[in-house]
Symmetry: C3
Subunit: 268 residues, 3 copies
């Protein structure tokens, strides 16, 4: 038996015992892993998939009974559906770009307690549209934005940090956080929640920004292990606050469990 | 050193580094894994274990202080306890068969946010009985039903689908979903919740059924990442709706993360 | 190629396929794993880390906007922050010792639905203090107590048990469970929740104790898969009840998934 045969034999033997395709991935790797579509399902309702085990779908003419149960404005016969296992902030920011770019409205934003064993949320976001082409376009835009909006999600085994920034908030951000439309907006998230409190304090002390929302495990989250602030103000001040929060949060989470890399690539 | 010795040495070396008995199991494999009892605990309260990390127990004479705290009808001195880490739908359907078959009532159905890192629920179901033998019988029936009622739970790394059907709903289904007793009943669940919305729409469009309940991450679930509808109507119509929902749901979840096999064996 | 070369080659080949450093850890191993600090983050707010992915922090002068959003009594300009991914009971008991030992008060105790895929909670506990040195001391005491208070947390793949006992409850226990200050206190937790019901019944039947709180997946928990009772009474009676609950709980959880070892070392 030569060397190559032996190697094959070893690998075969190992496959009986362990799943060679499986690694135990970090939460954020889990999020990243399913960003590609395995195969197009061949249904007209399908728009695409993205990072965070996210799927985008449309319904051209939503069933009237479901329309009523979901409490959707009667003027929308079409809906866009964006939902994932990991991430709510990234999806809300992506949806915000989508409503800016299309003739749609945000019907609802719901936060599941998810992230596949992680400390945060998953989400379900519904766009309303009069035409299915608009709903589809909104979902397409949002799916495409997700790679960017996951850029300042940093994770390791202990938890995660999330930072978001936009120079001009639109209706998804307004719906989710009550932040004013048209102004700069920032989101600061730390998990476990203890880190988020420190990040919030740093953000608010760094520059002259207004805190429009504070959420914590028992208030305003879906019992996620996060502390979250939403801030608004001048765009320079908001950015500065976000960066300060990221810096102190990164020090804490690194002290807990080592390096916490970006899920994709930082944009702030 | 011959080939076999070498193989042993390789395996020994590897065991220092990795747990050869461990695979990273899919959620639904996790559910299946603990269906056998490791050893009878030797206590009279124990009835059995089942799929979904489920345990069945009875208390012959529940302590009076606990009786009051749990808000149990005074006429029941005995309770049956059915609870698991993965699954609420399967347990409710199983409990429904149990109340049909025994002299018991459903005291409460509570949904934990669980599934061991998955997108769904775990549960705690309490049966009330005047005699402990009735409570025990109810738990036995329910435990036995679970293999069947997990049959249309399909899962992969992205999420899961759940379909349930009965020709005649009883009091557990009525308690959980407000569906009428004695009529055909169907349950349609999709996770992540985005898929569930599309499945709900398909179910309601397929046949003339009534939607008795719609739940989503922030409404009616325990913040699970699921959209759920409960339907009632003629038995043929309910079945047809369920099958249509399963078909479109399967296409979506397969597009996200590849094949999503049944946890046990489909019954619908 | 000699034997050692071959072994190296096998290991290299395997590293392409699997993460040799990764084992799939039990929940409670996960809790234990991050009890050491990877590196001091070099910020004055940092106090330390502990078991359960716990971090302890202080803020000397909390930002006024955050102070208001967090609804903290105006007399406290400093806060201590204690939070972790796994454990709420251990942290509440540890915080209770901390308030006994320091000039601080409990501002809030919030329970996340966490434990990194397990059945229980994570937590965020805020101490209020007039001086940062007091806040720091409280967090230090609490971090140090956690090794002990995780001692009667027992877990395996199916779930976990948690028992806590103190001869004299203080203000953290009072805040969390409404138990009287100065009296003996016990906590009985079982997950999945079915086990917790049986443990509660056993605890209350064993000795003359008072049940001050009962929580279950849909009532009083953050949708965790636990049933929980908090008991008070004579110290001997409370201990006896706790031990009886542990005994029956251990039998159940062992029947589900084999041995359920202590996270650290039993103290009751």
């Amino acid at each position: 038996m030569d060397e190559k045969d032996l190697m094959n034999k070893v690998m075969q033997e190992l496959e009986k015992h362990i799943d060679l395709s499986a690694k135990t991935p970090a939460i954020e790797e889990v999020a990243a892993e399913n960003s590609k579509t395995y195969s197009h399902p061949g249904i007209t309702e399908f728009v695409g998939t993205a990072i965070g085990d996210t799927i985008g779908l449309v319904i051209a003419n939503i069933d009237s009974a479901l329309h009523e149960k979901m409490v959707i404005n009667k003027k929308f016969r079409s809906i866009g559906i964006l939902g994932g296992r990991t991430g709510a902030g990234p999806h809300i920011m992506a949806a915000d770009e989508a409503v800016k770019a299309t003739n749609t409205e945000i019907v609802s934003i719901e936060l599941a307690r998810d992230t596949k064993g992680g400390a945060g949320h998953g989400c379900l976001i519904i766009f309303g549209a009069e035409e299915v082409s608009d709903a589809r376009r909104a979902v397409e835009v949002a799916l495409k934005e997700l790679d960017r909006t996951f850029g300042d999600v940093y994770g390791n085994d202990a938890g995660h940090l999330e930072l978001q920034y936009t120079a001009r908030a639109s209706f998804a951000i307004n719906k989710a956080f009550g932040a004013p439309v048209g102004k700069a907006f920032g989101l600061v998230v730390g998990a476990p929640a203890a880190i988020g409190v420190l990040m919030a304090d740093a953000a608010l002390k760094t520059a002259n920004v207004e805190c429009v929302a504070y959420s914590s495990p028992a208030h305003g989250t879906s019992y996620s292990n996060e502390s979250i602030i939403a801030i608004t103000g001048d765009s320079g001040a908001v950015r500065q606050s976000i960066i300060a929060a990221r810096e102190i949060g990164m020090k804490c989470i690194t002290a807990m469990a080592g390096p916490a890399p970006s899920t994709t690539k930082s944009y702030i």
